[in-house]
């Protein structure tokens, strides 16, 4: 057992008949017989939370009508971080769009890079190499882990637990070091190119990743121990912000939000890309659709991601990372400077870009936040007519009012945290 594991006095051990952690309602100071609690209802007020508020996870602004401490209405205001990425994309070549995607969901940049490259490749009919496919899987799963770790850390802080935040960010730092090793950047990775990758993994990357895959589940186990059966955690999250399966479908939720409500839809399993159908992993599905189940789903997804990473490391084939097509992939700099033909291809790609045939393509990938869709419409030129990002956290956030109304103000913070928003993506 690791030194960091702590025993909690408040832990509520035990499992119910189905083997799930027992759900004990946290009752503090139940009213004694004959004592009538004074009613705080009747007086409503309008308050404004954000846009600069640590618990709104970015520049989200909520106008809330309160009756006492109960939330009567929530009116979210978004757009404070609107950068017009979709408009910018119409003025850029497909490869020039990739850096924009670093800045949408900035907690999982590599997986956004993969999503947009896949959509451009589907539009152009490009088949990527086997090594590139596996490396992109590694990029996606690392992104899932770091995004979920940020979610775990910040949500536990919102609910008053500081320690899991430190543990989560310590592990996240290890992934960021790997990311920096591979792409040279911690945040603006711009990892992919249409038809391949910006760079192959450097020496020592696989060793670092293997070490991470082996030791990371220990931290997950510790977080699990501290939170899953913690009475405060359970009391703050169980039965809060419930979405039934039908409501989740009606509100177009995706990702962990949808699965926590009991709908087993995972793009990796149901519309596989990057050969995910050949990996062995499970898709965790909740049943209550509350904040607690979203936590359980995300925690388990981290474990499953390490499983996928281990398999990807075992099968990582040798070979090129880019497709062998000089119209799509830039020639090596040394060749562009010495070989006439290579120089022409280099010039045409940089000046004119890669032309996509007329038509449209949508590719949805299972991003940490939900289904990230990239939709390109082309008129045959090198710049898309329309680039649409289906932003999972924007659509998930739109159900906030439905989930929070009727709960306490402190539950609103927990519910907002459980949506796992990142404003760069909500506002784009």
């Amino acid at each position: 057992m690791s030194k960091r594991t702590v025993e909690l006095e408040l832990a509520t051990p035990g499992h119910d008949a189905q083997g799930r952690p027992a759900r004990l309602p946290l009752v503090v100071g139940a009213p004694e017989d004959g004592v009538v609690e004074p009613s705080l209802g009747g007086e409503q007020m309008l308050i404004n939370i954000g846009p600069q508020h640590p618990a709104t996870h970015g520049v989200l602004r909520l106008v809330v009508v309160l009756d006492g401490e109960t939330v009567v209405r929530v009116i979210p205001h978004v757009g404070y971080l609107h950068s017009g990425f979709e408009k910018l994309g119409e003025y850029r070549h497909y490869n020039q769009i990739i850096p924009l995607t670093d800045r949408t969901d900035y907690l999982s940049p590599m997986s956004n890079n993969v999503g947009v490259a896949l959509a451009a490749e589907r539009l152009m009919g490009i088949e990527i190499t086997p090594r590139c496919t596996v490396l992109r899987v590694i990029a996606c799963e690392l992104s899932r882990i770091i995004s979920h770790l940020v979610w775990l850390g910040t949500t536990s802080i919102d609910l008053g637990a500081f320690t899991p935040f430190l543990w989560a960010f310590q592990q996240r730092e290890r992934v960021y070091n790997l990311q920096e090793m591979w792409t040279g950047a911690r945040l603006t990775t711009s990892l992919t190119r249409v038809g391949g990758l910006m760079a192959d993994i450097p020496n020592g990357f696989t060793d670092g990743l293997r070490d991470f895959v082996v030791t990371f589940p220990d931290t997950l186990g510790e977080i699990d121990k501290v939170l899953t059966r913690n009475a405060i955690w359970a009391g703050r999250t169980q039965g809060v912000g419930v979405m039934t399966a039908a409501e989740a479908i009606d509100h177009s939720l995706s990702g962990p939000m949808l699965r926590a409500s009991g709908v087993p839809y995972d793009v990796r399993k149901d519309k596989p890309y990057l050969g995910y159908e050949t990996y062995e992993f499970d898709v965790p599905v909740g049943e209550h659709g509350d904040v607690y189940d979203r936590y359980l789903v995300r925690l388990e997804e981290c474990r499953q991601s390490t499983r996928i990473l281990a398999q990807a490391l075992d099968r990582l084939p040798e070979g090129p990372i880019n497709v062998d097509d000089p119209r799509v992939i830039l020639p090596a700099k040394s060749r562009a400077m010495s070989d006439m033909e290579a120089m022409i291809y280099h010039f045409k790609q940089v000046m004119e870009g890669v032309k996509a045939p007329p038509g449209e393509a949508y590719v949805g990938i299972e991003n940490p936040k939900g289904e990230l869709g990239n939709y390109f419409v082309s008129d045959g030129t090198a710049k898309p007519v329309r680039w649409r990002i289906r932003p999972p956290s924007f659509i998930n956030l739109s159900s906030l009012a439905k989930m929070a109304e009727g709960h306490l103000l402190s539950d609103l913070i927990a519910i907002n945290a459980s949506v796992d928003i990142v404003m760069g993506e909500v506002d784009r």
Partner: protein, 206 residues
């Protein structure tokens, strides 16, 4: 091609326009705007179709000004794991309006607001059709339209001036202002400006 297209033609006849398989292998079917709500309801509720999940709503304007604007609906049958893309064409010279699908899917609420905000397409029957990414008193137009310049219509200086000079009520929706009014929390100067219909209005300085 997705067999739902034939079923749609058998049910709705000439309301269903052309259909084609897109480059990603999904079927795109064009529907006349007047019948959109019926077609969507049918696709959602009919046994054997059951497109119960709305993936996305967006619009497309082509660089060729002659081509109509398109509103695209991405549908998914969750049980069958089948996708279908339904499109509606709108004449840019005519009224840019289409029936809202919020009565069918609540998930369409913010998506349609975004299309309204970015393209200026109105959704009839939407419960709360306001701008969403841009602020409500935004006066420069609809950013994703092709005639909208990349840097916006106003100069940078004018944009900064407007942002700094905006009245506080510009940051609240009419509904929120009326809620505040109901609790007698509106300051008198705000009330006065609202009464004169000058909500968040800034004198144009250029």
């Amino acid at each position: 091609m997705n067999p739902s297209v034939d079923a749609l033609r058998a049910t709705f006849g000439t309301a269903i326009g052309r259909a084609a398989v897109a480059r990603d292998g999904e079927t795109v079917v064009y529907v006349r705007a007047e019948r959109l709500r019926d077609v969507m309801q049918w696709l959602r509720d009919t046994a054997g179709q059951r497109y119960d999940y709305l993936v996305d709503v967006t619009a497309i304007e082509y660089r060729d000004g002659e081509r109509p604007l398109e509103v695209a609906y991405f549908l998914r049958a969750l049980e069958r794991r089948v996708d279908l893309r339904v499109k509606v064409e709108l004449d840019p010279a005519g009224e840019l309006a289409v029936d809202s699908v919020v009565p069918l899917w609540n998930g369409a609420n913010w998506l349609e607001r975004e299309v309204y905000d970015m393209f200026g397409i109105t959704f009839r029957g939407h419960p709360d059709l306001r701008r969403i990414l841009m602020w409500e008193t935004y006066a420069e137009g609809h950013p994703l339209r092709k005639d909208f310049p990349l840097r916006g219509r106003f100069s940078r200086a004018e944009q900064v001036h407007q942002a700094l000079a905006a009245n506080p009520e510009a940051h609240y929706s009419i509904e929120e202002l009326s809620l505040a009014e109901a609790y007698q929390e509106l300051p008198p100067d705000m009330k006065e400006r609202l009464r004169k219909g000058e909500r968040g209005k800034v004198p144009f300085s250029e």
